[in-house]
């Protein structure tokens, strides 16, 4: 129950889990939703509807022929107002279906309880559910569950670490949808023949541990992790739960493990029990600028302004709005951004909360390399990236960085270390032209 016993480094970050006791509230259907066609890693979908079409909840409105893609469904019933260009948080452009809702939430005829037999049909249904990794990476679930070496993969790890500060949506999911979670775990374990299931959870969530304990037995076990960020990082979790090292260039499946987030399992089970694809999301709305922080269940595509208005609006002018947590979340340019499938928190931070001093010279204190869970040397990578030195970056293994943010967090000189790591990866990708 204590896991493998060896721990990787990391940092103690104030948890700020103010909303851990907030029962999820249902958001009244917003007047308009914006549903981007690119919501997973891989190819963006092509809209299947056009302006003026009537759509219903659960109706497929976007799909792609590409293998690396997942369909997108309508989260509301209403009329398609327009198909617009949409700039994603990564700066790429995709299309987005804008729907004016009718408030009825009429369920589409396409929604029916799936019937399947055998692994192949099961995986096809997983794709139909529109499911992507909801922990943040948005990796298509049907691909993850279909490794090249199915006979060697025997362990399913459920990521319930939720190590990012502020976010409590996974915790609420475990408390409120316990039955779905357990049923989902059993379904996946049976279909894909997993011998062992390990639920990895940080020790700052004792209430969830209590709820899950009765279900533990021969197959399912709990692994309690110290709450030191980033225990929810995939490779970190695998190592701490099993002692297995996912080496450079390997996938978790290569060491016999597949990791799924709790919310992903619940979404999958919801689809298999009701036929309703992934159209809604439980999301933590918090941050010093939000009047009443809450956990909210909202349709995918709900704009942040609607979510924040539901939480009492702004009590203070926000300095940053984040899609995700403060360590790895993405700062968005305005609050008209839509809620995405892999989005588990919307944080509106005050200037004081996200204060960052101007960068000053590196004093070689070594805090970054002691903080890095993977033992990288961020200060050296910073130097190599500034010099555009691809050889040095390759030696320093910048490609292994998971961008968890520990190095930047601890840096007394406030250097943008994670940013430099990202730059370093790009330099390697482009062959390091000076």
């Amino acid at each position: 129950m204590q896991g493998f016993g060896k721990h990787l480094s990391g940092v103690k970050v104030p948890h700020n889990k103010h909303t851990s006791g907030c029962v999820t509230e249902e958001l009244p259907v917003p007047a308009r939703v914006v549903i981007p066609m690119a919501q997973s890693i891989g190819a963006s979908c092509t809209p299947l509807v056009k302006k003026g079409d009537t759509v219903k909840v659960g109706q497929k409105i976007g799909d792609s022929e590409a293998f690396f893609s997942v369909p997108v469904h309508s989260s509301v019933s209403g009329t398609v107002a327009s198909i617009d260009d949409f700039v994603t948080a990564f700066g790429t452009v995709c299309q987005a279906v804008v729907i004016d809702t009718d408030g009825e939430q009429t369920v589409s005829e396409e929604v029916r309880i799936p019937e399947y037999e055998g692994k192949e049909m099961f995986l096809r249904e997983v794709r139909n559910s529109g499911l992507v990794g909801l922990g943040g990476a948005a990796f298509p679930t049907f691909i993850k569950l279909n490794p090249k070496n199915p006979d060697e993969v025997d362990t399913l790890i459920i990521n319930a670490a939720e190590c990012e500060p502020y976010i409590t949506s996974d915790l609420r999911a475990m408390l409120e949808d316990t039955e779905l979670l357990i049923a989902g775990i059993r379904r996946i374990a049976e279909e894909l023949d997993f011998k062992k299931v390990i639920i990895g959870i940080e020790d700052n969530k004792p209430e969830a541990v209590e709820v899950l304990k009765p279900y533990c037995g021969d197959q399912i076990s709990l692994c309690i992790l110290p709450s030191k960020y980033p225990k929810g990082g995939e490779k970190v979790l695998i190592y701490e739960a099993t002692g297995k090292v996912v080496a450079e260039g390997q996938l978790p499946a290569d060491v016999g493990v597949i990791v799924m987030n709790v919310t992903s399992v619940i979404a999958l089970e919801t689809y298999f029990e009701t036929g309703m694809p992934l159209v809604g999301k439980r999301v933590t709305v918090d941050g010093g600028a939000v009047a009443e922080p809450k956990n909210v269940r909202a349709p995918i595509g709900t704009r942040y302004s609607d979510l924040i208005a539901f939480c009492g609006g702004y009590k203070e002018k926000p300095a940053k709005i984040l899609q995700g947590g403060p360590m790895m979340g993405i700062a968005v340019p305005d609050d008209s951004q839509p809620l995405l499938k892999n989005n588990n928190a919307v944080l509106a931070l005050t200037a004081k909360e996200c204060e960052a001093p101007e960068p000053s010279p590196c004093i070689r204190c070594g805090r970054c390399l002691r903080a890095c869970p993977f033992g990288l040397m961020p200060a050296a990578i910073d130097r190599a990236a500034r010099n555009r030195d691809a050889d040095q970056l390759r030696k320093l293994k910048v490609n292994l960085c998971m961008e968890c943010g520990c190095c930047s967090y601890v840096c007394p000189a406030s250097r943008p270390l994670v940013q430099q790591n990202k730059l370093g990866k790009q330099i390697l990708k482009n062959g390091g032209g000076k």
Binding site: A247, L322, P333, D334, A356, P357, S360, Y409
Partner: protein, 314 residues
Amino acid sequence: MENLVVTSSPHTRSGETTRKIMMKVLIALLPAGAFSVYFFGMRALYLILICAICSPLFEMLWCWLIKRPDSTGDLSAVVTGVLLAYNLPVSIPIWEAVVGCLFAIIVIKEFFGGLGQNFINPAIGGRVFLLISFATRMTDWSVFEGTKAAGYLDAVSSATPLRSDTVDFYDLLLGRTGGSLGETCSLVLIAGGILLVAMKVISPVIPLTYIGTAAAVAWLCGENPVFHIFAGGLLLGAIFMATDYVTSPTTNKGKFIYAVGCGVITMLIRIYGSYPEGVSFAILLMNIATPLIDRATMMRPFGALVPAKGGDAK
């Protein structure tokens, strides 16, 4: 909605800053400073204050000259000044101390690019510069009439304990001995070291390895290890000077190698060299070796494949 800040993650910080770290170093240096004023008299206070003020002034001047934003707010120049003062004898003329600060800040720190770029510790560089330039006065351990020190020592030409034959262990511990301003009292230096470790400014790897190695070499050479630990500048050097972030290796393995080197060189100079004291030169030499040690002790990241021969891990 306008004027939102958009930056790369993370969006929260630990709150630690270079200035706070330097402040903690100054706090850890306080006990030794207080003792030197108590022991050597008010002149010790003047020397410390003058060095602590002149060093940032020189840095300010330099920043103004080369049109760089003023960087003295990080307090690193103050730390350099105080450390340099701790390495001076109380009888040194004020102007020589000021020249030492000038050399430490301008030549050693700023010529190489300022904080983080200097290849040797500025305070040690300043001290060695003075030692070579003004050898007699830098080794003149006479103290002033009417001070505590005068009560214990021969006021005219008291030697550093490394040169005298009969020294009492308790005198070394309590600082009742001659020497530079900040190095005489082992007790307050150890207290400062504990403060540094407790405030998480330094890891104990360098001081413990340095002191341990020096003791071991002394024992192997048939000298009294306890005497060599507590006499002279070993504790001041091991705790406050060798642990300078900029000029010491960053990994624990590197720190260990570096500190072993410091310990061995210190003792070789003390036992076989013509100088009675080897701490400054030992740290100086290991400072220079630091980039090499860093290269040799690069950490192997989690899950990294060992690079194939030829260096390219593909």
